[in-house]
Symmetry: C2
DNA sequence: CTGTTAGCGCCTTCAA
DNA sequence: TTGAAGGCGCTAACAG
């Protein structure tokens, strides 16, 4: 039924080894022989069995990419960066979605490891002790992509989330705002939302603006949540004049709550986000935000992983990429 | 270095066969023996090698999912449907993105086949002769998901795109609109955009509204494209009062062009889309659209694939799921 | 430049 | 209920 390397060898009148060499682009084959083999392959419609190959060579030339949340808007661009570099180095990549559930993340990591991937990229979620434990039990290199672990014991590529939030608040302060509220994500996410929270506080502090408990509310990162939290701020007696949302999706929700109240963004209230997802420029007013270099995060982390897989020397296992303030139409002078 | 089934056998004082049985949940093992084996596995930190298993059993219990475009907003929800059912039947799924490039789609299909997946799901893109050719050379079942082929020779799960567009235009006609324009996708996409185009024409025809060439323009499916095409319509002397956009993203672009011209949606111009991506309710005015049952499309196609993989009998290899008109704020009486 | 020969780690009869 | 043994399809020395 299935045609194997042995069939091709017989058809071409050579040995299995020679066919193997041809398939693997080993230069030690006479051009003429090579041609014969290719013809036989063509005639028989031979397709190499990657499973057998993986077993024999102990390398699968594939890297597993764990996506904690496939509906997250930033992953598409990051994935593109990963793939471009992976292709360049002739690695296949297989994506596995974990649906934002930690237990499933661990399961997926183990599945990938059982499949003998040559390396692992963990993309964008919260990294716990259990994750690290799962990584440790493997013999393959792991790179965290658009995230990092608190202990900083795993190679990673990310931005400085604290600084990103700091810069966003700065942009507000520069424009004369003093009543600046934060729509935060869950603070248990120590590497993303908590850092952004710290950046918010730090910017206020440096500007001599006192921190107010009632100016911070936690959302879940989704649009609806931005809608709700902003509603709370609208009801405040001493309403904020500017908002930092910990991500763009909540920022957009916040904008819409303001509009739905019949007020204007940015004339009445300024709103800034973080991430620069594609949607940020697909709303009115267009959202000002702090851009993550998503493609680069993907590309650099994949590049780092290839080095680790080849046991090449790497200067620095923890890479921080620069972010960029993008001013559009959703913020204005106080 | 790596611990194998043989090590576990020795540690537990049984044969490899017994360990294999335990790992594969074969009931023919004495509970006591099973326990011993589990303990040995635990002690040694044994992790089954899926590659070796795949080679020996000729089944990998994984299905490959080809995603033509990972940044497409509808795939996340479809993927969720696929995964839920896959988990239910104990299949792993591996996602492969093809970046909207046909040549890469074919390559990815072949890679997946080389990896010996037990089945293939092709999600949402245009299916050409070359695709079908690639499918044919494999021995595993293939299901098209959120798409179908013109010849209808491959099992598929999709909606009736023509009817969806028809219903959208109907919603406009019902509200008294007569000057209805279409922001289409490329008509070469026979299974999606061309069908939607036909639905548009059919609805007009049945209502006795003459078709106008200048009321149809082709976009590329993206937001920016909606922006541009709508700009063209705005300049028309006899401006349309209603727009059908062939997908939501272009519809949203169209809305913003109208707003940017200082006019109102829906008071001056009504706009309706197709798909019901999450973003449709994340804009102001919220977008009316025709919803695809994305989760179900994923779930049903995966279910169909499991049947095919088990060689079970299936009634109908081509499933059409119902769509639904969702009226929100972007359309009004003429 | 080419062929021979061991495995890679596991499943799966077939016997016992 | 368990063990022995023969592959699965391919790669990787090692010879020649």
């Amino acid at each position: 039924m299935t045609v194997t390397i042995y069939d091709v060898a017989r058809e071409a009148g050579v040995s299995m080894a020679t066919v193997s060499r041809v398939v693997n682009n080993n230069p030690n084959v006479k051009p003429q022989t090579r041609k014969k083999v290719y013809e036989a392959i063509e005639r028989l419609g031979y397709r190499p069995n990657a499973v057998a190959r993986g077993l024999a060579s102990k390398r699968t030339t594939t890297v597993g990419v764990v996506i904690p949340d496939i509906s997250n808007a930033i992953i598409a661009e990051v994935a593109r960066g990963i793939e471009d570099i992976a292709n360049m180095y002739h690695y296949n990549i297989i994506l596995c979605n974990a649906d934002m559930r930690k237990e499933k993340e661990i399961r997926v990591i183990n599945t990938l490891l059982e499949k003998q991937v040559d390396g692992l990229l963990f993309m964008g979620g919260l990294v716990t002790e259990d994750h690290i434990q799962a990584f440790r039990t493997s013999n393959v290199p792991v790179v965290l992509c658009a995230t990092s672990d608190v202990e900083q014991s795993v190679p990673s590529v990310d931005i400085d989330h604290q600084l990103a939030a700091y810069d966003a608040v700065q942009a507000l302060i520069t424009r004369g705002h003093k009543k600046i509220a934060l729509i935060s994500g869950v603070l248990e996410d120590l590497t993303h939302y908590y850092q952004r929270y710290l950046g918010y506080r730090k910017a206020l502090e440096e500007a001599g603006i006192p921190f107010r408990e009632d100016y911070v509310r936690i959302g879940n990162g989704r649009y609806e949540s931005g809608l709700e939290v902003m509603n709370y701020f609208m009801e405040l007696e001493d309403r904020p004049t500017a908002i930092l949302a910990a991500n763009d999706e909540m920022a957009i929700g916040a904008i819409h709550t303001v509009l739905d109240h019949g007020l204007s963004v940015p004339d009445d209230i300024s709103i800034i986000g973080i991430d620069n997802v594609r949607m940020a420029s697909m709303v009115r007013p267009r959202l000002s935000t702090v851009a993550q270099p998503m493609y680069d995060i993907g590309a650099v982390s994949m590049r780092l992983l290839t080095k680790l897989m080849k046991k090449e020397h790497v200067e620095e296992e923890r890479v921080i990429l620069p972010h960029e303030l993008i001013i559009r139409d959703s913020i204005a002078e106080a």
